[in-house]
Structure formats: structure tokens, C-alpha cells
Subunit: 148 residues, 2 copies
DNA sequence: TTACAATATTTGTATATACAAATGTAAATT
DNA sequence: AATTTACATTTGTATATACAAATATTGTAA
């Protein structure tokens, strides 16, 4: 994926600008691929992420703030994201008894089931997206990512 | 930016999954910073990109397909993105005389003026975001990006 | 020359996101 | 105990995005 070819310019782009544009283009490719993989499940990337976080809780319920700090998305959406998962039967929400300001959100059996199916498709997408990388290169990439 | 710390897991994430998650987190940081920098101008990243493409045309008008193939966004939005730029007085649109299905879009003087102000802020954001990178590391990063 | 296909853009609609304000609850202060 | 402050979540609203369908124009073939 060559930046100049894609944005069709013959001008030399400064290194730092080029890096940011490159990142944007790659993100676009990646998120398109993932959205496509999740499409048959009728779920968005964000909803998928919330499901994964809930599973990661290993039965322990999560409240909205917890979800939010582990997510990419903004707080106000988290309520509605969870709404959608509940509507689909993949999550469950109860008001916390010890502190009624809080809510406790858990993943349902049905949620775990569909999530495991999604995992397979995600794994495929990851493989496809990263097919040109060796493990060493991915280690290098992650190492560089740490500098952001 | 360490993935495990951010998504607060103690489990080891497979290298390929980790890379994709890492990319998402970084994209989020970058786009937040850029949106913030553009905020005072009342313009979105996408609108900013269109303006830059128009400037890159060096006076030559661009049609929607051209804009679209150089952009990240989807076709149906391009019309409305341009609408917004026109409304702000930053772009101009006329129906192409040789082929009336096409439109010719150009950047206005006012557009060029505000764009040059935005460039300064963008440059600052890029510097801030990439402050931990040496030029060599950025070259390496761009090289790895080419494998996507 | 009429009909059909291809091209370029626009519009409709449903869903997603961002930001600010509102709600309800608990804790701290007077 | 009443008042204020802080916390956790929800709601309102404006804008953005995705996808499909519609519109308008041009090119092509019977």
C-alpha cells in the first residue's frame, strides 16, 4: 500500500505527514475488512469490542465506565451500544444493588456463542490483512506502535 | 502506548490480533488529536482532506469520482461533503459542459486561505503525535505500512 | 431512432457518532 | 437534616456515515 500511488500525487510528501496519511489509509482498509467480516452477524466493530470485553470479564459484571475506559468509543455511545447488544440478547444489564448509580453488564450464553463464531471470522480477517508480514516484522511494527 | 495496559487485560494477546487492536488504538489517538486541531475551523477531517485534494489539483477542477478515489470516504458522502465546503465558501461546483453528468469542483481563494491556516495546526499535531519517533524509525514504520 | 446499458452524481433512509445537558443517586459539608 | 458537590449513566440533538435506490445524461446496438 503505497501512499503516493493511492492519493495519486507526484509530489513528495514530508515524512511525518506521510506517516499520518499512511496510517489513515491502512486503518481504513483494516476497518473495512473487519466490518465486512462482521456484517453477516449484524454487529458493528464497536459492539463486537464490547462483547469481547464482557467475555474477558470471566463472569464478573462490568459497569459502563469500565467498558468505556477499555474501549475506543465515547461514553454517551456506550449506553446505546449496550442497548443494542441487550436487544439482540447478547448482553444483560441490571442496576447495581450496592450503588444504584451503577449498572452491571454481563454477556449472555447466546452472546458467548455468537462471539465464538465471530472470532473465527475475525481470525480469518487478521490473517488476510497481515498475510505479507512475518512474525518478526509484526514484532517490529508493535514495537514502533508503542512510540505513539 | 501499550495495548495490554490500555485494554487492561493480563492475558497474552496473539501477535496478529494484538497488531490490529494496536492499530485501532493508535488511529483513535491520532484522529482525536487531528479533529481537535481542526475544531476551531469548524471542519471535519474528511472535509479537510477534500480541500487538500482540491488544492493539489493546482487550479485544475476535480470531479466527484476523482475526489472519491483519492479519499477514504464513500461516494455518497462525497456529494454532501462538497456541499458543506460550498456552503462555507471554500469550494465551487459547476456542471461540466462537455459531459453534463459530471461536475467540476474547485477550491476558492477563501478555501486556500483557511487551508493554509489549518496546515499550521496540522503540522503541529503531526509533530506532537510523532514526537517519540526518529526519522529512521518513521522510515521503518512507513516501510512496514507498505506491507498492508 | 428507439431501446438498452453504462456512467456520474444525488437522494432517502437507517444507523452511528460527538458533544452538551439532564437525570438520578451517593457522598461530603455546613 | 438540609444543601452542595461529585459520580454514573442516560437522553437530546446535530452531524456523519453506509448502503441502496433514484435521477439524469451519454454511449451503443438492434
Amino acid at each position: 500500500m503505497n501512499v503516493e500511488a493511492i492519493i495519486k500525487t507526484d509530489k513528495k510528501i514530508p515524512l511525518r505527514s506521510r506517516t499520518i496519511i499512511h496510517l489513515m489509509l491502512i486503518h481504513n482498509k483494516v476497518s473495512e475488512q473487519i466490518s465486512h467480516a462482521l456484517k453477516p452477524f449484524g454487529i458493528s466493530i464497536q459492539q463486537f469490542n464490547v462483547l469481547r470485553i464482557l467475555r474477558g470479564q470471566q463472569g464478573k459484571p462490568a459497569n459502563l465506565s469500565t467498558l468505556n475506559e477499555r474501549m475506543v468509543s465515547k461514553m454517551s455511545n456506550t449506553t446505546r451500544l449496550v442497548d443494542k447488544l441487550i436487544k439482540k440478547g447478547y448482553a444483560h444489564r441490571i442496576v447495581c444493588t450496592s450503588n444504584r448509580r451503577k449498572v452491571e453488564i454481563t454477556i449472555t450464553q447466546e452472546g458467548l456463542k455468537v462471539l465464538s463464531e465471530m472470532d473465527i471470522e475475525m481470525k480469518k480477517s487478521e490473517q488476510e490483512l497481515l498475510v505479507n508480514f512475518t512474525d518478526l516484522e509484526l514484532e517490529q511494527l508493535n514495537h514502533l506502535f508503542n512510540k505513539f
